[in-house]
């Protein structure tokens, strides 16, 4: 089990709309949100939390290009340098015939690369146990969490009263 060594204060909401409003208000109140958890992607959450756009698709493009070059250059090298053979009277460098495999490897590299990158940067993988705040977060609860590791009493009570006033149905804290 991985740990973050954090003391987390969190509130559970029954509806994604309440959560969205709470996140907006928390940011307006200058409260530092540690993280937000939901059973499904909530639309508008990225903006509400001020998350920057994911750069995952850029890595996808780079992996794809790598696949394109690997396939095309390898086939070219094999048929023009390493072992040139004439097939059906065509030139050694018969580029159009290389296209299908080049395309397939582009897709393969992009997909595999992106998926591996995704799991790595999210700290996920087979056998990895990440701490969770509540079992119902993957069911029907929406969670807003504050990091209170270095907060004093006043700050914690401010966060608590914020959670209460924003419509959280349950509030508790957990060391993860």
């Amino acid at each position: 089990m991985r740990t973050f060594n954090k003391e987390v204060l969190y509130g559970l909401y029954d509806d994604e709309h309440d959560l969205l409003v709470a996140v907006r208000n928390a940011r307006a109140d200058h409260l530092d949100i540690w993280d937000v958890f939901s059973p499904f992607p909530v639309h508008g959450m990225d903006n509400a939390m001020g998350l920057s756009e994911s750069r995952l698709h850029i890595t996808g493009f780079i992996y794809g290009m790598l696949g394109t070059l690997t396939a095309f250059l390898f086939m070219t090298w094999v048929f023009t340098r390493d072992w040139p053979i004439i097939f059906g009277g065509k030139p050694y460098f018969s580029a159009p015939a290389f296209i299908p495999i080049t395309f397939e490897l582009t897709v393969l590299f992009a997909a595999v690369g992106m998926v591996v990158t995704f799991y790595t940067i999210c700290g996920m993988g087979p056998g990895i146990v990440n701490p969770t705040l509540d079992d119902r977060i993957t069911d029907d609860k929406f969670c807003l969490a504050f990091d209170t590791t270095n907060s004093d009493e006043a700050e914690v009570s401010k966060m608590k009263s914020f959670l209460e006033s924003s419509g959280a149905t349950e509030i508790s804290s957990k060391n993860i």
Partner: protein
Amino acid sequence: MSGSISPIREPLITGHKTYHQITEDICSPTERTPTTAWIIAFILAVAGLATFVFCVAWTVWFGIGSWNLNRTINWGWDITNFVWWVGIGHAGTLISAILLLFRQRWRTGVNRAAEAMTIFAVICAGQFPLIHMGRLWLAFFIFPYPNTRGPLWVNFNSPLLWDVFAISTYFTVSLLFWYAGLVPDFATVRDRAKGLRRRLYNVLSFGWTGSAKHWQRWESLSLVLAGLATPLVLSVHTIVSFDFATSIIPGWHTTIFPPYFVAGAIFSGFAMVQTLMLITRKVLKLHDYITLEHIESMNKVIVLTGTIVGVAYLTELFISWYSGYIYEQFAFYNRLMGPYFWSYIGMMFCNVLSPQVFWWKSMRRNITVTFVMSIFVNIGMWFERFVIIATTLARDYLPTSWSYYTPTWVEIGIFIGTLGLFSTLFLIFIRVAPAVAVAEIKSILKDAGDQYAGMDVARKHAADPETEKAH
């Protein structure tokens, strides 16, 4: 969420579900002890799988001679089955990728099971070229690995090799795409489980937490994978059609093959999705998530692609006549009037004529008709591949080598065996994983649930505009 209310769109989730009920309905089949129906089905499926293992072992032991292929007809049931299975394996990725890009919300109810079906169908398809090699243990020769024979490379100009790359890429990408969707749902199952089950599902769920940043990346990943899978799914059957189209056999050497094969693949894939979904929905009681609206939408795709395939058949006939090339003309005359005329008639009836019943809305929404039609299409598309492969080869350039082909029990056994392999995998899947994408269904609930969308709600709104605020 800002759910806009459209009186035209029917609700895609019925039964006034809450988020918790959705979790409960979809996850509980994986938590109960299997039903008698499931156990009986599983025993039959494993018996089919055993048939497969036995017949493949027989083929490997005694050689390809245990099949009825001959010098003239060197591709028979094996390649027919291969193309049939690959075609079936197209619907899942079409539903999950192309319909995601087209923002078709009804895909959400069926994408999980359809993608699973895709992966299992591709596994079945992959068996045939391997077995057909005869010397199964040398199958790795098809990959360009550095070897001690030079190294002597594979022929990158050969459509058969393109097929190797296309099918293996398609399998890998479909699997990754499917699994990325499963991870949050495995986490849902994990958080409901105790003890050993919890540990197992924790491994399967990769430690998913549902953090907002992870969801953002997950959505980005899904969208890009959909964008990659869309051209991929079209390329795979295009390349399968190149196996035929780049040859110089009359009846195969046609430029219409790629679009015609792709349309046929989508057609047969949707038919198989219908067959499976109608059974799954009944057995797992998923009527509220796989509604008549879903079934009707898929039937629309079936009638469209069936008609495209029909147009392709007629175009082929016209072009062979119009070409003025006697070999081409004979190839098609032979399909209609030759020794295999019955398979051509079966193909025309099952693929072109019978799906036309779906022009009527009452037929599209009739479960029995849909089920019978899905079986018809599955049979028709098998005939199509048989017509293209065996019929064409049976009458080649030299009348002295003309031949006729009927499969041996080994070939029939391998085919029935792949049905067993497919069913075994599918039955395990519906026991282990949520058969409907839980997180995705939740995300469309407020747009497409029956308490938020559809005729009744729209009428209520017209009567009482105040309720608008609730949404």
